[in-house]
Symmetry: C2
Subunit: 269 residues, 2 copies
């Protein structure tokens, strides 16, 4: 895809929901939206010359620390939609980037917020942002009107010793081993592949009768090729979704990832 | 992404290999290329008014029957590449569509050929192409310079009764159950998800020391949500890849999919 390459505070790109990128509900698949959000962020950072191509000498690369998405409705198959991104804020370690999703009539149908950091792609340690020419004039500063993520609580299996404020799993622990296609440029598990893994915890029937309304992801540690994780699940009491933690197999005190998926029941399927 | 919408015989679109769309070898992930090939085909068909949006009244939709890709080299992370598509030929049931892949300097680095048919999206039966305004002036007709797929042979496990010309598996049969994200608009398993499943049969180490040179996919029957398949594998004698058949669990005489992946050893990793 071709992006405008001027040093503008916002970057917009149009996408089309092909049958290939639609889910079984004939709407944009959530993991495709996440991929396009990441790629639009990448394109804007590159246009501002604060992207990976400009960090080749320092060996730095942007990685996601948090992701929050809220969708009023999802674009349907054969519809176009538009993603617009801008920088909300930055500090010495993190940059917050917002996204607006508009449908083909220009109506806003969703927002997203991502929190990014720069790591040394060899050592995977944080490099901070101070080496970047991240100038004030690149910062749009307006806030996407969605809530920040609240503190996430770890999940322990029923019968496990678990600290106060932790959640108790309401489903059996499932295992998953990361394979070749789960791994990206950083040789760690790719965000889009986590989304697929999380959505796959729901049945087709559940997805026919509800829609993803809000998604929260918070990365704690990297997962790598061959690692087996335990997927801990706590269903929300109101039936409106589930909270997950992914942990190294058998080590439920050191989560790799917190996630919350909030669903909305829908009338028509 | 925004595509030109004129009724041209070819359609080209530029893509960028972000870190998000790169594999562990820091090159364009093969399943992302396949997704972009399908979406470029979709955009060209839509521009010619022979696409899914123009078949809403007849309830038709394009589905892939075959896919062949040959890559001399893969675009690297932070590189742009260009996909160009055109119609090679069509008959009453199938349309053949070719693709050229060019790197950022305009050098051709690969080709692909896809074979498509139109199904009734309710009954999943072939509708043929005769109802489409598939005019001769839309057909470019030039041939992508890659071999057609040869006849594929089914694979049976060692010890199974298998017909002449069948292959014997050289690896244990693996199982896989299709889940929510494997299913697309047609409520069948998406091509891109088959590519991920096939690539995941290789280890990271194998992929570090070799590159996918040619990929062949031939769809025999649809797979649906919840179906468990047996992945039958026959490694090529020269170490240069493997042939796969995917079959319904325990029913190795009625394959869903034939696939061949030809690899090239590489000097540097």
């Amino acid at each position: 895809m071709t992006f405008a390459m001027g040093k503008e505070k916002t970057l917009s790109e149009e996408y089309f929901v092909s049958a290939n990128e639609a889910n079984a509900q004939r709407e944009l698949a959530a993991h495709i939206l996440v991929s396009n959000i990441i790629d639009t962020a990448t394109a804007h950072a590159n246009a501002l010359h604060i992207g990976n191509p400009d960090m080749e000498e320092t060996g730095g690369g942007w990685v996601l620390s948090r992701l929050t998405i809220e969708m009023e409705r999802w674009p349907k198959v054969n519809e176009s939609y538009r993603l617009t991104t801008w920088i909300e804020s930055y500090n010495r370690r993190f940059s917050e980037r917002a996204f607006r999703v508009e449908d083909c009539r220009g109506e806003t149908i969703g927002y997203a917020r991502t929190v990014w950091m720069v790591i040394d792609t060899a050592t995977h340690r944080s490099l901070g942002l101070s080496h970047l020419p991240l100038a004030e004039e690149y910062i749009d500063g307006s806030r996407a009107p969605i809530e920040r993520q609240a503190r996430q609580a770890p999940i322990f299996a029923a019968g496990e010793e678990c600290p106060a404020a932790a959640l108790t799993a309401t489903a059996d622990t499932r295992g998953y081993t990361f394979r070749y296609c789960d791994i990206d440029f950083y040789r760690h598990v790719n965000t889009v592949r986590y989304i697929v893994l999380l959505l796959n915890q729901f049945t087709l029937e559940q997805m026919d009768s509800s829609r993803l309304r809000r998604l929260e992801l918070s990365f704690m540690q990297e997962a790598v090729y061959g690692m087996t994780v335990d997927i801990m699940r706590h269903d929300h009491e109101d039936g409106g979704g589930a909270t997950f933690t992914l942990c190294p197999q058998g080590d439920h005190a050191h989560p790799l990832l917190f996630a919350r998926l909030f669903m909305r029941q829908c009338e028509t399927t």
